[in-house]
């Protein structure tokens, strides 16, 4: 099992995601950039991809819309730099929260033996917008309960 490690230190505007894949780097990179393949895995479960434009080249842009019975969720951004098999630097914006743009850098490390490690580093403009992203869908006032459950699960 390849676990996803997510780090979001309190008081910082960063989110770091590290995940390994049982596939060579070239394939992971292709799955990450090929507009025929990306919609097969990107986005939350149970949502349909309504629109999808994805031009993963330096200066290219992307725009996609997920939909469920409650509504539509649109995302967009531009690719600042794309180094084949190694690196993608892009902006990310949820159109429901306009101008809360984050910068995301995805690095692909060849681990040998047909395995690849992905490291995504996201930088938000404020700690608050980072927290809002992490807590999306969460209500206020549950931090205490969360800490209690954290303790429970840590046993």
């Amino acid at each position: 099992m390849n676990d996803t490690a997510i780090t979001a230190q309190p008081g910082t505007p960063f989110i770091d995601v590290v995940r390994e894949f049982d596939a060579p780097r070239e394939r992971v990179f292709r799955a990450w950039t090929d507009p025929q393949i990306v919609p097969q895995w990107l986005g939350p479960c149970g949502l349909t991809m309504k629109e999808f434009e994805y031009d993963a080249r330096p200066g290219g842009s992307y725009h996609y819309v997920h939909a469920d019975e409650r509504g539509e969720y649109a995302f967009r951004g531009v690719f600042h730099n794309v180094v084949p098999d190694e690196l993608i630097i892009q902006t990310f914006e949820y159109e429901g929260a306009p101008n809360q743009v984050s910068l995301q850098a995805a690095r692909f490390d060849d681990l040998g033996g047909g395995r690849t490690r992905l490291h995504m580093h996201s930088v938000y403009t404020t700690v608050e917008s980072r927290d809002a992203m992490v807590a999306s869908g969460m209500e206020h006032g549950v931090r205490d309960s969360m800490q209690r459950l954290d303790e429970l699960l840590a046993r």
Partner: protein, 114 residues
């Protein structure tokens, strides 16, 4: 289930987990079913108190008890706990689901490359 009902259920679950004895019971049940006596063992509290804790956990939907067996062992309702943790850790869960789909996509790409 409406959003309000879901909220109420979460409130009950969190309230039930706001007690160290009940958390320890959940932790014990995560390793397998247990009878009331087995659950009571680590605590210096009365059997009545243990029964009350079990009732709270049951009412919160976190555990179930077998109806038929004489021992009436308690079971963890793993789905309810998962719902709780997934609600809390929605971001992590979404990322993990996405990456598992990517795992499958990578596997199918491998087939096509052959």
């Amino acid at each position: 289930m409406t959003i309000d009902e879901a909220e109420e259920r979460l409130d009950r679950a969190f309230a039930a987990l706001g007690d160290p004895v009940r958390r320890a019971m959940i932790a014990r049940l995560s390793r397998g079913e247990a009878t009331v006596n087995e659950l009571a063992e680590p605590f210096a509290i009365t059997k009545q108190a243990v029964s009350r804790h079990i009732h709270v956990l049951e009412a919160a939907g976190l555990i179930t008890r077998s109806r038929d067996a004489q021992r009436r062992p308690c079971h963890l309702n793993a789905a309810a706990l998962e719902e709780l943790t997934s609600w809390i850790d929605k971001y992590r869960l979404e990322a993990e689901r996405r990456f598992r789909r990517l795992d499958e996509v990578l596997e199918s790409m491998k087939e096509q490359e052959k």
